[in-house]
Structures are given as structure tokens and as C-alpha cells.
Amino acid sequence: MSHWIILPIVLPAFLAPFIVLAARYHIVIQRSVSLAGVFALVVVAAGLAWQASDGTVTLYQLGDWAAPFGIVLVADRLSTLMVLLTAVLAFFVLLYAVGSRWDYRGWHFHALYQFQLMGIMGAFLTGDLFNLFVFFEVLLIASYGLMIHQGGTVRLRAGVQYVLYNLLGSTLFLFALGAIYAQTGTLNMADLAERVQLIDPSDTVGIRIAAVLLLMVFAIKAAVVPLHFWLPSSYAEAPAPVAALFAIMTKVGAYAIIRVYTMIFPPDLEATAGLHGWWLLPAALVSLAIGMVGLLAARKLDRLVAFSVIGSMGMVMISISLFTAEGITAALYYIIHSTLAAGALFLIVDLVRSSRADLMLTAQAPVAGSALTAGMFFMAAIAMAGLPPLSGFVGKLLILDASFDTGSVAWIWAVILISSLIAVVGFGRAGSVLFWKSQSVAVDPGAEVQAAPSPLSYVAVGGLLALLVAHTVLAGPMTRYTSAISAQLFAPEPYIATVLDTPGKLSDPYSDTDEEEAH
């Protein structure tokens, strides 16, 4: 019995209480445990991704109960990729948190960080919708804790909005789960995929509403306009490393949409036909537009980056909402890019913050280390705006190409290209004020000298940027892999068979036929 799959969940779930129990007052122990844990996560995640790369679907039955009666974890190409992405991002962000001493500015940073990772990993690995809900709760409450780390009036106010909005989302999730269970009598994703095929075409209302409510829940997580209102101020006000880690959180929503709406409610399913075609793509286009327009309108750097996250989620959602193999391929490539770019940008925001009075987009006297910061900002901005030579450009080309044969190609291209231009203008303005105009401000000799950010901080940001470069250079293998993921998603039969046909406790296929009872 291989337990590797559950390790990304259990490892942080052990480290966090251990830190709370034993190392509450010892920052050095906390840091060591936390860093070692996340590094181990990277290794485990890489192993899992390698194992899944040949198309193997690995099942883990919790409590030895067979699906759909117990909870299962499923590692396929998609989930392991997301787990690996999370682990890698988390590693560099944690390096930054340690390097910038952000972890020392409030209580329980490392414990909450580990719990947060547990929630995210669980959400990617679980094969059960209710379990997904539980992990959404874990990652929500942990993220709230991280968000208000160190406190402060503005941050606390933003935190309240964040948690309230997401609690509304959780409530809706419960409604949706109740509706799905009432309609199908199961919560296992693979089982659901089989049962929705049995829906009577003369009574589709139930499953339709359930499906669309669930989609709304995930759309909230993915910050699709007009369900994005929780994002701008909370990402802007959150401590930088936390905001950087949050770059993966919106992707949880995108992941869930990809998973559920290719496997359970695939685009060709009769019962749920025409549910989201009319609004998801327009909403994604508006998200992209709002994100980039918000980027232009922002008066502070942190909000600028927060809006760019909304915009990049718009890109992801445009590609997903095509619900074609090419679209998902492009979306997955872009998800990796957008996660790394957003993470790097938020950390850079903090580098900037550490050398200035505030983050207002005004010229302030230059300080030590600002040339390096400027270079990093330039690079990350290029990536985020989708200019060559970084992966944002490749992702944009993939998405444009994927949408070529669709009916709404004119709209998609127009919005993507025009909003790219707005992003270029916005980033150009911000960068030139922050890093160029400040050269014309005389340094006040009386001002206290601020220490340049620590080398470890730069290493962390540099690491993320290096990953972006690698994502670009290796775009060939990466796209080949995301297209393999996409192929696996659109042929879910092996996945479903693995989940449902593997016997567990008390489900001996030869004597006791519980499964047949259930179907």
C-alpha cells in the first residue's frame, strides 16, 4: 500500500499542530520545521507528478472504504500537477516570508501556513465533493488567519470582507451539495459522473440547478466577475508572502471547474446542456477587462497587482469556458504561468514596500537595492502583461489559437488584445513612476536609512522568476504535458473505473455486492 498520495495533506497537517504544540515561542524551530516540510512537499509532489505522468490514475481509499461510500483521493495528471505547482510556489514564498521576517510579525504564521497548504493540497487531491467542501473550509479559515497576520485596521477590515464573502460562498456550496445529493444520492465525483448519465431528460431541473450553483461556488473562488469582489482589497492588504501564496487559491476554483465540468457535467451532457455557455465566457471576458482596467486605475501598487490577478484569472477562464481540449491545454499552461507571475509580483510589491513610505504610485526618493527590484518588476510585469519573451506571451498565443475556431473569436481576440495593451500602459506608468521618476527626487539627507531587503528575499523572488523563464523555455514539453492532461480529462473512463471498481473494506467483488446495490 503506497501512502505517498496522502502525504501532501498529512504532512502539513502534522507539522502545523506540532508547531502549535511544541514550538509556539521558538521562531527558529518553526522556520526549520516549516521549510523542511515544504521542501519535502516539493519532493513528494514531484514524485507524484512523475508517477502520474504516464497516465496512471492512483487511488487512495481513506479508511479502506471503497468509493463512493468512503472518501477517496485520486492522483491523476491534473491533480498532481496542481499539487506540484502549489508546493513549488509555497517553497519560494516561505523562503521570502523567512527572509523578510514577515513570519515574525504576528502569531502562528507557520502553523497557519502549513494548514493552508493542507487545505489546498486536499482540494486538489480529493475525489469527493463533500471532502472538497471540507478542504475549502480549511483553506478559507487558514487563509483568513494568514491574511490578518500582524493586524492593522485596514487589513482587519479587508479581512472581514474577505471572510464574510467567502462564507457566503461556502453556504452556497452547501446548498449545491445538498441539491446534488438530493438529486443523485452520492457525492463521489466519479460516481456522480456515472449517475448524471441516468438523469431522465423529462426531469432535468434538479440537476441543472445543482450544477449551476456548484459552478457559481467555484466561480467565486476563481474570482470571475461579478463574483470577484472579495479579491482586490484582501489581496492588496494581505501580507506580501500571503498574497503571493494566494496566487494559487484562485486556481483552486479554476481547477474545480475544470475537474467537475469535464468529468461530471461534460460539455456534451444532454441534461446540463446550455447551462453556462451564455454567461461564463462573457463573464470571463469582463473579468479580463475589469482586471486590466483596474490595473490602469489603481493608485497603489498592491491593488494594481491584485487587479492583474483578476485579469489573469479572466484569461484562464476564457480558455476554460471554451471547454475544448485545446482550451483546457492552454488554460493549464496559463494557470502555471499566472500562479508564478502573480506570486513573484506580490513579493516584488513587498520589496518595493520595504524601501518606501507607502505603495502609492508617486515618486519617492530611491534607496539601496532598487535597481535590482526594478529589474525584477520589469520582468514580472512583462510576464503578467503577456509580452514576449516570457510565458505570458506563450500562454496568450495558446489561448488565442485555441479560440480561433469558435464563434466568439472576434470578441475573445478583441478583449484579450486590447486588455493586453491596457496592461502594458498600466504597468508602464506604474514602473516609470516607481523606478524612473524617483531618480529625479533628491534623497533627503535627514531621512533614516532603510535597510535593503535581505538576500534571501531576492533569492525567493529570483527563484520564481527563474521558474517563469523555465516555463517559457520548456514551453514545448509543458504544452505537450498539459495537452496530455487535457486528453486524460476528456477521456475520464479510466479515472472513473479506477475509482469505482477498486474494492475496499466489505466490498469483496465475489461475495457481497454492495456496489451493485448502490447503482
Partner: protein
């Protein structure tokens, strides 16, 4: 040398200047020069193959899925441009070494310059149009960095942003055009695309593709109406202006038009768009250039004008036009780069570029005078210089071109353009170098060191050489032209020579030069006329557009995101209800399969209480204490409901949760005002009410629908019911589901609970560090305090009851697996026991007797549950696999030992820890708020006769 290396060398070399920066300026420029030279030599090694008419290629797959591969090709056209880029690059690097001041960061400059060089070489060698796009945008970015190189100058920053915006826009449009083109042909490889003229021109997507690609070309090559960015890019250091903005980058658009010439040209659309834009640009640029007083602005507009000339030639779609264009590209690069460098020298020496402050420099700077005059005369089209030759060819071509059914339009405009072109050249020579020597130059000028004048001098040698002996370059020009034509047209038979006889072009040329002389002699009255005439100022328009867009975005974004949570929630509600309604409206409704039960009077009564309490809550929610009471009622009715529906576990949980939350909320209320203020208008509250009712009705309808229908196949709960005892060892199915079937969910949920408690703790800490602390310290209670805060009755009773509570908790914990109960409920019950002690004797007294920190209890709980789960790994089973056995220890009866109980212990500990930590956090707030605390268990103790505590404000009470 491999083409990869030719392209990659500048990019790799870009790392060096930054590295060598500290080694001195000569070293820094030296490595840059060496890198460029290596690439140049590498290019030249391919010359024999090119001359032999071969196509040199190199290919590496990058993203085959997209069709974006690193494929390079070198033909005559590519070689021509690459040679221009690298060759002039070498001259510019030499020039820049002496031009840049000591305080300029030379490493940074050369890094950007090499990045640009690499990108530019990449454009001209790309065989893949997507790869070409990558390099294309890279030139925009590096040009952005170079224009803004002098960061402290506002003109530099604004010019950089304007250039990036305009060329970036074109680049984005071109992405669209290239993708369309690739999709028409089915390949992004130029070598394939160039073979498919009929396919492309026959496609309905030809026109959109053409327009989008031309947008890219026109913005890059500063064609009307996108010409305005180029003069503002002149804020860059002069080497940049000479290199990027006259010789190379601005020719990228022209290069692309030439590259695409075989497949895009020859249609009426191409002709009208390209020739039209070129003509307008040529004339407009020349006219504006005449009246510019800034030397670099004059040269910038003259560049715009000449780019228009070349564009116009490409637009005609004839082979002769193409050849003239190629020849003029070559000539323009030589004389214009020389002129820019001369302008740089003048600026460098006199500290001004304003023509009105110059004059008479021929005596002071004879070398510069010679260089600049020859280059300018060539530009004016004076015989024996190369500019004359290509201008003659242009006029010849214009003479044969019919636009809009007019034989006069194109030749007329061509002559007009040439006329003004000659005029500004004469003005440049006359007003800068001729005339009397002045005594008011900002800086006394003299000829510079050779490092500055040698590069332009070299170019002027070419200007004269080609002008006198054009037959030397003719084979090369024809070679390049052949690769432009790409086999779609016959190579022109005409030869490039100085004397063609008395042809119309000669008359037109003479007219232009004579006209130019007349214009420049009447310059002053013309200038007054020009200054008096109203004309649009491009920068002001551009800034107004950008400013308007920014203001509009600010209005939209800040208007929508106004921070009002109710608005956000309202929008979300509307969205959810709307898509839900759509799902309902487009679905089919089947008949009900279940019969509704009849409600008994008790049920109706319970329902009525629930409704009444909820309605009351809505109406009275501004009184916070009252609303808490009403919430309590709702919770109690719900737990009664659970009892009625035979769910004792849920009922017990609900009941205990209710008690604990109400106590915690009461504690929180202690720090809040009694009433919620009214913050919204009646209108907004009405809106919210309507939305709330709509959502509520929708939810009700949804529940009603599902309650009346069976699941499509039997629910999984049947398995749980059947196997709870057999597989989980418990007869209480709810508990077995919680700790076994779905123990993993429970594991997650206790973690949520634990995090929530840690959060409350952290939040309290953060609050106490912040401004809230002062407010807490200065808080005056609104109501009088109770005189006896820790009454004896309560103290005695809670003490007595404590062991009982513990016992009940223990009992509930133990029976959980088979009867209603379990760790969760037990944890809540035990917590209530502790909470009672806090209430009775105060926070300080109780905390002082606390032995285990609650953080630790939570941690221990989560760890216990997790360790139970891991335990199953040792027997080769998955996480949380349960097992149970029956043991008999005399004299007790046989009892069950289940691993699930251990898991439940973890749940128990986590719940106790979480509740208590939250309570403790609130109590710390209270202690900071100076709520009087005592060290005694009760305030009035008969066994103690100490005087009343002076801190106690008992007398006021």
C-alpha cells in the same frame, strides 16, 4: 557560423557589459564591440551561401503544439538587414563609447543595446512568424528601456511610454494578424506561407489579417497616423536615436512589409492602404521637419518622411518599386545615421540642438561640417551622392503610379515631398553651419575627438562611394530585391546609374531641388505662417486620450469597488439567483415521486416559532442583545427539529454548540455598542429586502422540489446503514460516519475548528497591539456594573456540578460509538463545565488554576487524530482505517475497544481546546479593558473578612 549563434550572441553578450561596468568604460564598450563583431563576422561567413542563392536555415522545435518553433532562415533580404543592424551597430557602439558622459551607467546602456540588437537580428532572421512576433515585441521593450535611459528626464519617461504604447498596440494587432495568416495557411513558417499567395489572397480573412499586420508595421515604422511617437523617442541618447530610430528598428515595419510582399501585395487593398499611408507620411513628415528647430526633431520627422517614401514604394506592388525601396533603405540608413551622429556631436559640443541658436559652425567644426553636409545633400537628392539615385528611382516609380484614378496625385505628392525634403536639408546646412560665427553658443564648440566623428565619416564614405559608383552595389541590391519578390515577379531589368537621360524623373528631381531652394530662402515668412496656423499637437492628443482612459477606468473601478460589503453581497445574490433561474427556465420539470407528509399541530407550532423568531430577528436586529436571544431561539427550535426527525446526535450537537456560541457571543457583545446604527438609506434597505426575499423564495422552491423527488439511484447512505456495525464496529451510524466512513472529513473539520481558535487568539493579540488597546483601556461601561459579579451561589453551584459535568462528558464520549454521543459533543459538554467556572469566579482566578495551555490541547487533539490515522499504515492499510475488538477485563463486562475511539479522543481534545482558547482570548480583552478582577473565587466570602477591594466601584453601583 550557425544562425542560432548569430541571433543568440547579442543576447548572451548582453550579460557582459553589466559585468564589466566596474572595469571601466573602455572595457565595457570593448566587450560590447567584440560581441557585435563576433555576430557580424558570423553573419558574413554565411555570405557565400547567400550570394549563391541558397537559403541558409536552422531549426529547433520549441512549441510544436502551437507551431511556434525556433526556425531561422537567411536569404538576401535577411542578410541585408542583419548586415545593416550589426554593421551600423558596430559604428554606434564606438560612437556611444565617446558620447556617454562619465556619470551615465554605461553597462546598463550597452546591455539594453545588445538586447535590442539580438531582438532585431531575430526579427530579420525568423522563419516563423510567431517567433518573429516574439522578437518584434522585444525590440519594443528594449527601445522602451533605451528611450527612458535618462530616467530623471520627464521627456525620456514620457517618450518611452508613448513609444511602448504605440508600438505595443501595433504588436498586439500583429499577433492577431499573424495568427489569422497562420490559420489560413496551416503553418506559421514563413517559407510555407510565402508559397501560398493564392490561398491567402483568396481567403475571406485576408483583409482582417492585412489590416492587423499593417497596423503592426505602420506603428513600428511611424507611418501616418502613428508617426507621432518617433519624434518623442528622440529624448533617448543620440546613439539610440541614430541606431534604433533611424537606421534599424523603425525599419522593422518596412522589413516585414518587404518580407510579406510576395503574399500580401498586389491587391487593391494593399495598394491603397500602403501607398496611401506612405504618401501622406512622406509629405507630412517633410513639411513638419522643415519647421522644427530642434535638430533631432528635424531629423526625426525627416526619418518619418523617408520611411513614408519607402512604404509608398512597397505599396505600388511592382518589382521596380520593390527594388527602389530596397535601395533607398540602404541609402537612408547610411546618410541618416551619419546625420544623427553629427547632430549628437553638435549637441555634445555646443550643448544645444536648437537650430536658432546655432550657425557659422563650419569654421569651428570643419570635420563635422563636411560629414553633415555630404549626408544632408545626399538626403536632399543631389547627384553623385547615393540619395539622388534612389530618389530618382522613387520619382520614376511615382510617375507610373495611378492612385484613385488620378495620374497626377502620386507624382505631384512625390515631388512635393521631395521639395520639402530638399528644403529642410538646405535649412540644416544653412542655418547650422553657414552664416557668421556667433559669440553666444552655450558652449564654445570645436571638432570632437576622432572616436565621435570616425563612425559617421565611415558612413559618408559609403554615401559618396555608392553615389559615384552605384554599379558596385547593384548586384547586391538586385539579390535582395529578388528575395523580396520571392519569385512572384520578374526582377527589374533597369540598371542603377547616375544618368538615365532626360526622363520625367529628372525634371521632377530638378523641380524638387529648385523648389526646395526657393522654400528655404523664404523660410522666415513661411515660419510665421506655420506658427500662426492652427495644427493638432500629437502629444497633447495622446496624453489626453491616455489621461481620459485612466480617468474613465478610475471612475469605473473605484465606483464599482466602493468597499460596501452589502453591495458586493447583493451583486452575488442577484447573480446566483439569475443563473439559477436560467437553469430552471431551460430545464424540464418531472412529476413529484414522493407524497408530502401531513404536519402535526406540534410541528406547526415549532415551525411558527422558528418563523416568528426569524422575522423578529430581521425586525429587531439593531438591538444586539435581543437578536442574540432570538438566534438562541432559532437554534433551539432547530435542535428540537433534529429530535423530531430522529437525529439525536445532531440535536445534542446543536444544543451544546448553541450554548457555547451564545456565551462566546455574549462575551463579544460586551465590547460592542448595544445597538447597530442605521447606515443605509431606506431605498437601499428596500433593495436588500427584495433581494433577500427573492433568494429565500428561490431556496425554498429548490428544497421543495428536491424533497418531493427520489434520488436517481439509491443513496450511498444505505451502505452506511448496512455496514456500520459490520465494518465500523458501532451501531450509532452517525458516529461511525463521523469517525470512520467519513472520518477524513471530520479530521478536516476539527482542523478548521482549531484554526478558528488560533485565529481568535492571534486576532486578539493583534488588536491589543493596535489602536484598539487605547480604546479598550479608556472604555466606560454604559450600564452600571453588578455589585456582586461573582456571586457565592453561582460559585458553589458550578464547583459542585463540575465533577458531574466531567462525568457526563466522559459518559457521552464513551457511548458515542453505539449510542448518541461522541467526542464532539463530549468536548462541548466538558467545555461548558469549564466555561461555567470562568463565569462564576472570573477569568484571572480560573486562568491561574489552568495547567495545560489551550494551544497545546488543540495541537494534541489534531495530532492524536492524525496519529490514529497513521496507525493503520503499520498494518498496511490506508490512513484512518479503523479496527475494533472486544476485550474482557474481570470484573467488568465485555467491552469494545475501537481505534475510532482514539480518533474521537482527538476530536474531543481539539473541541475542548478550541472553545477554551476562544474564551481565553475574549477574557484577555476583558482584562485589558480593566474589568475589575479579583484573586478570590467570589466577591463576598463569609469566611473571609478582608475590607472591600478599593478597585471595586461597588459604592456607585
Amino acid at each position: 557560423m550557425s544562425l542560432f549563434l548569430v541571433v543568440a550572441l547579442p543576447f548572451l553578450g548582453a550579460l557582459l557589459p553589466g559585468l564589466m561596468n566596474t572595469a571601466g568604460r573602455a572595457a565595457c564598450a570593448g566587450v560590447t564591440f567584440a560581441v557585435s563583431l563576433a555576430a557580424f563576422v558570423g553573419l558574413l561567413t554565411n555570405l557565400p551561401a547567400v550570394l549563391a542563392g541558397e537559403m541558409v536555415t536552422a531549426r529547433i522545435d520549441w512549441i510544436p503544439l502551437l507551431g511556434l518553433n525556433v526556425t531561422l532562415m537567411l536569404d538576401g533580404l535577411g542578410f541585408f538587414f542583419a548586415m545593416l543592424i550589426l554593421g551600423i551597430g558596430l559604428l554606434i557602439i564606438t560612437y556611444a563609447r565617446f558620447y556617454l558622459a562619465r556619470e551615465d551607467n554605461m553597462g546598463e546602456f550597452f546591455t539594453y543595446l545588445l538586447l535590442f540588437q539580438g531582438a532585431m537580428v531575430g526579427i530579420v532572421l525568423s522563419d516563423n512568424i510567431l517567433l518573429l512576433l516574439v522578437f518584434w515585441e522585444l525590440t519594443s521593450l528594449s527601445s522602451f528601456l533605451l528611450i527612458g535611459y535618462w530616467k530623471h528626464l520627464p521627456e525620456g519617461r514620457q517618450g518611452a511610454r508613448m513609444a511602448l504604447t504605440v508600438t505595443g498596440m501595433g504588436g498586439l494587432a500583429m499577433i492577431g494578424g499573424m495568427l489569422i495568416l497562420g490559420n489560413i495557411v496551416g503553418s506559421y513558417d514563413l517559407s510555407v506561407i510565402l508559397q501560398n499567395r493564392e490561398l491567402i489572397q483568396g481567403s475571406p480573412l485576408y483583409l482582417p489579417a492585412l489590416i492587423l499586420i499593417l497596423l503592426g508595421c505602420f506603428t513600428k515604422s511611424a507611418q501616418f497616423p502613428f508617426h507621432f511617437w518617433l519624434p518623442h523617442a528622440m529624448a533617448a541618447p543620440t546613439p539610440v536615436s541614430a541606431y534604433l530610430h533611424s537606421a534599424t528598428m523603425v525599419k522593422a515595419g518596412i522589413f516585414l512589409m518587404a518580407r510579406m510582399w510576395p503574399v500580401l501585395s498586389g491587391t487593391p487593398e494593399w495598394f491603397v492602404l500602403v501607398t496611401g499611408a506612405g504618401l501622406i507620411t512622406m509629405v507630412l513628415g517633410a513639411v513638419i521637419a522643415l519647421f522644427k528647430h530642434d535638430l533631432k526633431a528635424l531629423l526625426a520627422f525627416s526619418t518619418v518622411s523617408h520611411l513614408g517614401l519607402i512604404t509608398m514604394l512597397l505599396g505600388t506592388g511592382t518589382a521596380f518599386g520593390a527594388m527602389a525601396a530596397v535601395f533607398h533603405i540602404m541609402n537612408h540608413a547610411t546618410f541618416k545615421a551619419a546625420l544623427f551622429m553629427s547632430a549628437g556631436i553638435i549637441d555634445h559640443e555646443t550643448h544645444t540642438r536648437d537650430i536658432r541658436r546655432l550657425g557659422g559652425l563650419r569654421h569651428l567644426m570643419p570635420v563635422t561640417f563636411g560629414i553633415a553636409t555630404l549626408a544632408a545633400l545626399s538626403m536632399a537628392g543631389i547627384p553623385l551622392l547615393n540619395g539622388f539615385l534612389s530618389k530618382e528611382m522613387m520619382l520614376e516609380e511615382a510617375y507610373h503610379t495611378v492612385l484613385l484614378d488620378s495620374h497626377w496625385l502620386v507624382p505631384g505628392l512625390a515631388v512635393l515631398g521631395s521639395l520639402f525634403s530638399a528644403a529642410y536639408c538646405f535649412r540644416l546646412i544653412g542655418h547650422v553651419f553657414l552664416g557668421p560665427v556667433r559669440d553666444d553658443y552655450p558652449h564654445k564648440p570645436h571638432d570632437p575627438e576622432p572616436g565621435l566623428w570616425l563612425p559617421p565619416a565611415f558612413l559618408v564614405v559609403l554615401v559618396v562611394g555608392i553615389g559615384i559608383a552605384p554599379f558596385l552595389v547593384e548586384p547586391f541590391v538586385k539579390l535582395v530585391t529578388a528575395s523580396v519578390l520571392g519569385g512572384t515577379a520578374e526582377l527589374p531589368y533597369q540598371h542603377i546609374k547616375i544618368w538615365h537621360g532626360l526622363v520625367p524623373a529628372l525634371y521632377m528631381s530638378i523641380a524638387a531641388v529648385v523648389g526646395g531652394l526657393i522654400v528655404v530662402s523664404a523660410f522666415n515668412p513661411l515660419l510665421r505662417l506655420w506658427d500662426a496656423a492652427p495644427r493638432p499637437e500629437a502629444k497633447r492628443i495622446f496624453d489626453a486620450i491616455i489621461g481620459g482612459v485612466v480617468r474613465l477606468s478610475e471612475r469605473v473601478i473605484h465606483g464599482v469597488h466602493n468597499g460596501s460589503f452589502t453591495r458586493y453581497a447583493a451583486i452575488m445574490t442577484v447573480a446566483v439567483v439569475a443563473v439559477g433561474y436560467h437553469a430552471w427556465a431551460t430545464g424540464t420539470v418531472g412529476p413529484a415521486t414522493r407524497v408530502p407528509q401531513v404536519a402535526s399541530p406540534v410541528q406547526i407550532a415549532g415551525w411558527a416559532m422558528l418563523v416568528a423568531a426569524t422575522l423578529g430577528l430581521v425586525l429587531l436586529h439593531r438591538n444586539r442583545l435581543l437578536s442574540l436571544v432570538l438566534i438562541g431561539i432559532v437554534g433551539l427550535v432547530v435542535s428540537v427539529g433534529f429530535v423530531f426527525f430522529s437525529a439525536p446526535d445532531l440535536a445534542m450537537t446543536q444544543l451544546t454548540v448553541e450554548v457555547v456560541t451564545i456565551i462566546l457571543l455574549l462575551l463579544a457583545l460586551n465590547f460592542l455598542p448595544n445597538r447597530t446604527p442605521i447606515e443605509s438609506t431606506v431605498l437601499r434597505r428596500t433593495r436588500d429586502a427584495v433581494l433577500a426575499v427573492a433568494a429565500g423564495v428561490a431556496t425554498m422552491a429548490l428544497s421543495y422540489h428536491y424533497l418531493l423527488r427520489d434520488t436517481i439511484s439509491p443513496s450511498i447512505s444505505e451502505f452506511h446503514l448496512a455496514n456500520s456495525y459490520k465494518g465500523g464496529g458501532g451501531t450509532n451510524v452517525v458516529n461511525v460516519i463521523l469517525v470512520d466512513f467519513r472520518g477524513f472529513d471530520t479530521y478536516g473539520e476539527i482542523i478548521v475548528l482549531g484554526i478558528a481558535a488560533l485565529l481568535i487568539y492571534a486576532l486578539t493579540e493583534a488588536l491589543l497591539d493596535g489602536p484598539v488597546r487605547a480604546r479598550l483601556l479608556n472604555r466606560k461601561p454604559t450600564d452600571p456594573r453588578a455589585g456582586d459579579m461573582h456571586p457565592m451561589m453561582m460559585v458553589v453551584m458550578t464547583r459542585v456540578i463540575m465533577p458531574v459535568v466531567m462525568l457526563v462528558g466522559f459518559y457521552i464520549f464513551l457511548r458515542g460509538h453505539n449510542e448518541p454521543g461522541g467526542g464532539f459533543i463530549a468536548g462541548l459538554v466538558v467545555s461548558i463545565g469549564f466555561v461555567m467556572q470562568y463565569m462564576a469566579s472570573g477569568f484571572a482566578w480560573t486562568s491561574a488554576r489552568l495547567r495545560y495551555p489551550y494551544h497545546g490541547v488543540i495541537g494534541a487533539g489534531v495530532l492524536t487524530a492524525g496519529l490514529t490515522g497513521i496507525g493503520s499504515w503499520f498494518v498496511g492499510k490506508p490512513f484512518l482505517t479503523s479496527d475494533y475488538t472486544y476485550v474482557r477485563i474481570p470484573p467488568f463486562q465485555e467491552f469494545e475497544l475501537a481505534t475510532a475511539a482514539l480518533f474521537d479522543l482527538g476530536v474531543f481534545l481539539a473541541v475542548v481546546g478550541a472553545v477554551m482558547l476562544s474564551l481565553e482570548s475574549f477574557s484577555r480583552l476583558a482584562r485589558r479593558a480593566h474589568v475589575p478582577d479579583v484573586e478570590h473565587p467570589m466577591d463576598i466570602d463569609p469566611s473571609r473578612d478582608d475590607p472591600p477591594d478599593p478597585l471595586q466601584p461597588r459604592t456607585e453601583a
